[in-house]
């Protein structure tokens, strides 16, 4: 028995890969419908912030993620944009990651139509821009000194959405969805410096590191990973990729927990 158990500890890791694959594939093929009941305080704060903005307000959505983090962050961006459109909030989209331009196009291909929103009136997409620190600093003086045209080269000043928008004073909040440290830059160069409320959506990996900013109120609300997206989808009552992913995440986590407990028990009992 002892030998079998010790052999089990040295099992070829490829069998574990197969188990993990099954634990994620099965819930995708046949959803289990496990509930997502807990809503964290930071997600609720982000939701409340957007929900309490008066109709016609303008927010900047800085969507800075590429395909490598899209499964976590794309559902977050989708949920927040849907919520903003539901509340008739105008959305200005900026990006500082070259890989995100295609994902932004994909995001705004279908969602605005669902809510009857028009490009140039209810939302606008600015082009990719390099050197984020210079851009964020300059935007406080005059947005048009950096962005005079939209992503397709159309004049920005003549668009109805840009009427009365000159700098951060005309912006109600910044929502930055990112898999990088760009949220830190928004906090430091815009939130703290110019007093614009900054909110974020980050990968689960970097979520823990934003605790100090949340505690001090430098970030008003935060979505973390796919769980954060699922919570936000629950709040806006629009189940999407975040919610459907919770099944797979739950089963995979249970598998990992079972494996950790099992291997520790084997070590303790059969040492």
């Amino acid at each position: 028995m002892k030998e079998i158990m010790h052999k089990l500890l040295k099992i070829d890791r490829r069998y574990l890969f197969v188990l993990l694959t099954l634990s994620i594939l099965i819930p995708i093929i046949k959803p289990l419908g496990l509930p997502n009941k807990s809503i964290s305080k930071d997600v609720q704060n982000l939701y409340n912030f957007i929900d309490n903005l008066p109709a016609g307000s303008t927010i900047i959505c800085s969507l800075d993620y590429d395909p490598s983090t899209a499964p976590e962050l794309h559902p977050q961006a989708t949920a927040i944009v849907k919520h903003a459109f539901k509340k008739n909030i105008k959305v200005i989209v900026v990006t500082f990651i070259p890989g995100s331009t295609g994902l932004i196009d994909e995001l705004f291909e279908k969602i605005p139509q669902q809510y009857g929103k028009k490009y140039g009136e209810d939302y606008v997409i600015f082009p990719y821009m390099a050197n984020i620190v210079a851009v964020l600093t300059q935007m406080n003086s005059n947005i048009y000194s950096i962005y005079d045209k939209d992503k397709d080269g159309k004049d920005l000043k003549s668009m109805p959405i840009m009427k009365g928008i000159n700098n951060y004073k005309n912006i109600s909040g910044i929502v930055n969805i990112t898999g990088t440290a760009i949220l830190d830059i928004w906090v430091a160069y815009v939130g703290d410096k110019f007093g614009v409320p900054v909110l974020g959506g980050v990968t689960a990996i970097s979520q823990v590191g934003y605790g100090p900013y949340l505690q001090k109120g430098q970030i008003k609300g935060l979505l973390g990973g796919m769980k954060g997206a699922a919570e936000y989808e629950t709040l806006i009552n629009e189940p999407g990729k975040g919610t459907s992913g919770i099944d797979a995440l739950n089963v995979a986590h249970l598998l990992v927990l079972a494996l950790i407990i099992m291997s520790n028990l084997i070590l303790v009992i059969f040492k």
């Binding site: 995708i28 045209k149 990996i205």
Partner: protein, 245 residues
């Protein structure tokens, strides 16, 4: 986009995903192809985005149609930027110092004051602030404020090496280690969740591409890969048997 292109895209995406996953079984030529394509396509996308979104509107267009002042405002930073490339030519690499000097001065000037305010002063304030009105806080908030303050002091002491960690100092330092362990544990747990989310994203796409709409792309490619590995194993076994004879 035409229906044919969408299906073609699905086949390419499914193939590249499965090729990369195949490394979990073992290194193979399909993985190498996907790996090189990933780097090449990524660089290509990056280059075209930077060229069309930055270089054309911010450099080439003002140079073609700008006023004298606008042209000067483009030429000066462009020359500084180009000077960095001289790093690759040892004889004139000294020119790059001008560009780097500008970059260093600019970056330090921008980052130091903001970094001090955001990551140092504000965080110190955030730790002390709750104690200014400590007795008006709720029980949970009091507990939270104490934990943050104790954690900050203990972790900072753990990294303070000018005093020997013994006696009370050792205990404080040990408490700091426990706080760090909690942080690393939470961080690792979140990392696992993040990786599973990414895996879910790819599997979700693969399942989607295995439908009739995409001509069963995932299923065909997975079957093809399996056949390749089985055939490779068979050939190796046969060759081994022949050489043994």
């Amino acid at each position: 986009m035409s229906e044919g292109m969408i299906i073609f895209g699905a086949w390419v995406a499914a193939a590249l995903t499965l090729f990369l996953f195949s490394f979990l079984y073992k290194d193979n030529p399909f993985f190498k192809v996907a790996e090189h394509l990933f780097i090449g396509a990524g660089m290509g996308w990056y280059f075209q985005t930077v060229y069309y979104k930055i270089m054309v509107p911010k450099i080439l267009e003002p140079l073609n149609s700008g006023t004298g002042f606008e042209i000067a405002m483009v030429i000066i930073p462009s020359i500084l930027g180009l000077s960095l490339i001289t790093q690759f030519i040892p004889k004139i690499s000294w020119i790059s110092r001008y560009g780097f000097t500008f970059l260093m001065g600019y970056s330090a000037g921008m980052a130091i004051p903001v970094g001090l305010a955001t990551d140092f002063m504000n965080q110190v304030l955030g730790t002390i602030e709750p104690f200014a009105n400590f007795f008006s806080l709720s029980g949970f908030e009091m507990f939270n404020a104490l934990i943050i303050a104790i954690g900050t002091v203990c972790v900072l002491f753990y990294f303070f090496f000018s005093v020997e960690h013994k006696g009370v100092g050792k205990k404080v330092s040990n408490i700091g280690i426990y706080f760090l362990m909690v942080y690393f544990g939470a961080s690792f747990g979140n990392t696992v969740m993040a990786r599973f989310s990414l895996l879910y994203g790819r599997f979700d796409t693969l399942v989607n591409y295995s439908s009739a709409k995409y001509l069963y792309a995932t299923s065909w490619i997975a079957a093809g890969l399996t056949l390749f590995f089985v055939a490779e194993k068979l050939v190796k076994t046969l060759t081994k048997a022949e050489s043994a004879e």
